[in-house]
């Protein structure tokens, strides 16, 4: 009988997350599983492409001192990524449970500021992709849509994704995004410009009146 030594921890949209041990560390194994709805050719290309960009972006972020789980290895054939296990809650959960949530959002802002100051892009910055530890330290995870770019537009995309998911989960979104912004501007010299660019992207969405467009 085939034995799976790893415990399934969670099932995301594109990967199954297992918990295990590797090199004596408590680790996460993130396996991007084939998707039935896609043709195998498209599917394989996307899975390996995402795994590669996730690994590259994570390592670069780590080298720049952004708090991300340390990458320990990848297996391209099995489209699996192995990184250190971070103990904590998703930011999504923390929003409902934590008393010092405003402080946490300030710190998340600082972390993203650091990422962007180094021209790194997350690509899918939602409240589900930040883990908050017991000591209230935020770790950024899930870099599958990440990459490298100096463009303000790409950075503003991250900010907008973050704000949109925040709006969908809590009525406190304005205050919390304000805290995030303070941390972000604090840590990134072009922070104000990136936030301005975010407003421009918002004004470009479908059905926004021409006179309200910012560019």
């Amino acid at each position: 009988m085939k034995r799976n030594p790893h415990k399934e921890l969670a099932k995301g949209a594109e990967a199954i997350i297992y918990q295990g041990r590797f090199l004596n560390f408590k680790v996460i194994l993130k396996k991007r599983v084939p998707k039935l709805y896609r043709l195998p050719e498209i599917d394989y290309r996307i899975r390996t492409q995402r795994l590669r960009s996730e690994a590259k972006t994570m390592v670069s972020a780590w080298q720049c001192g952004v708090r991300v789980p340390e990458l320990l290895g990848i297996d391209l054939e099995k489209t699996t990524l192995i990184c250190k296990f971070i103990e904590g809650d998703l930011l999504y959960t923390a929003v409902r449970t934590h008393d010092s949530i405003q402080k946490i959002f300030f710190k998340v802002g600082e972390e993203i500021a650091h990422l962007h100051a180094n021209d790194l892009i997350h690509g899918d910055l939602t409240v589900f992709n930040v883990i908050v530890t017991e000591k209230l330290i935020p770790y950024i995870i899930d870099f599958g849509l990440g990459g490298f770019s100096g463009e303000l537009e790409r950075k503003a995309d991250d900010l907008l994704t973050f704000y949109s998911t925040l709006k969908a989960i809590t009525p406190k979104n304005k205050q919390l995004f304000e805290n995030f912004k303070q941390g972000y501007i604090n840590g990134y010299s072009e922070g104000i410009q990136a936030l301005e660019q975010m407003r421009k992207i918002m004004s470009r969405a479908r059905y926004i009146a021409r006179e309200n467009r910012l560019e």
Binding site: K11, G12, A13, E14, K35, L36, Y37, R38, L39, E41, I42, I46, G123, D124, T126, F128, L145, D157, T161, S164, T165, K167, A168, I169, T170, P171, A205, R206, Y207, I208, A209
Partner: protein, 330 residues
């Protein structure tokens, strides 16, 4: 107004190329008639579409009156598509709605077109609290009810999927609307060509895929181009839908809008639902496209909470986003 009684609502749909009139009582459709403008060449011209609507509403209304099993006096309110859509078309529809409300001395209800698609889906399918993938010629959105509003979780960053299919169809010499013709050609395609696949979080974009596919015309076969185009763009929609389900943990997914008629897209979204362990529902073909019944059904919900609009304040809203609507009935 008796809140216990199921109201009878007349709904008028006219945001783009379809004029629809329907009368519903709860989820029961008493009558549902529509007529659609077909451009002789190119896409939908707003003025031509509005001319078409103004010519056809009176005829359609006469048909409805002749065939309706109940007396017009039994209608409790007039609901109309107030937006979003093409301004000239919206104004024609609103004019008819106001005239009917005045004539019958009944209140007027201004309905958001996108939300009407969702509400019809919730009324006629068993979908409860779904993530909605709404795919049509003018709109492509992932919608869910969260924190008091219908939120747009993801949407097209450029053109709607139906619009993309129409544009590619025209370049390939296929007639309008492009979707059904592309689906037919695609069923004979075999070779997967390389096209862009654009997902940004839960949003997507199609114009790049259209351009790339157009460049392959006369290089590759029409069948292979159609096949590949469907595979890439629908996969992007399916992936974004899966992300939305995974994030929101909603118990079902509902597919609606004109492009919901495409069997390949249905199959992909069914797969996503199976993968995520949620229910899959799709609005039947004759009600998935624009129609009056959806406006009447959304109007029914709004009627129950007294969400009326005075005629003097009933100006149309061509750019009325799904997430700007105050949802007082949920």
């Amino acid at each position: 107004m008796d809140p216990q009684k199921t109201p009878v609502i007349l709904g008028l749909e006219g945001t783009a190329h379809t004029a629809g009139i329907s009368v519903v009582k709860g989820s029961e459709i008493l009558i549902n008639k529509s007529t659609t403008y077909l451009p002789t060449q190119g896409g939908i011209h707003p003025r031509e579409a509005a001319d078409y609507l103004s010519k056809h509403y009176p005829l359609l209304l006469q048909e409805v009156i002749n065939e309706l099993s109940i007396n017009l006096k039994e209608i409790d309110a007039i609901a109309f598509s107030r937006g979003p859509g093409l301004g000239p078309c919206l104004r024609i529809t609103a004019t008819i709605a106001r005239a009917l409300a005045l004539y019958l001395q009944k209140p007027l209800i201004g309905v958001n077109h996108c939300i009407a698609h969702v509400e019809l889906g919730r009324m006629i399918t068993p979908a409860r609290d779904p993530v909605v993938l709404y795919v049509s010629g003018g709109n492509t959105q992932l919608i869910a009810f969260l924190n008091q509003k219908y939120r747009i979780l993801g949407e097209t960053l450029d053109v709607a999927i139906g619009n993309a299919l129409d544009a590619l169809g025209r370049s390939l010499g296929l007639s309008h609307p492009g979707g059904p013709n592309i689906e037919r050609e695609a069923s004979e395609g075999k070779k997967l060509l390389l096209l862009p696949y654009t997902v940004k979080g839960m949003s997507f974009s199609f114009s790049g895929a259209v351009t790339a596919a157009q460049r392959l015309i006369n290089v590759e076969s029409v069948q292979d181009i159609c096949f590949s185009f469907q595979e890439y763009t629908f996969s992007a929609l399916a992936e974004a839908t899966e992300r939305a389900l995974s994030c929101t943990k909603k118990p079902s997914v509902l597919l609606t809008g004109g492009v919901a008629a495409n069997m390949r897209l249905r199959q992909m979204i069914q797969n996503v639902a199976d993968e995520q362990g949620v229910e899959f529902h799709v609005v039947p073909k004759h009600l998935a496209g624009d129609n009056g019944a959806m406006i009447a059904m959304a109007g029914t919900l709004m009627y129950k909470v007294g969400e009326f609009v005075e005629i003097i304040k009933s100006s149309v809203r061509p750019r009325w986003r799904t997430d700007q609507v105050k949802v007082s009935w949920l």
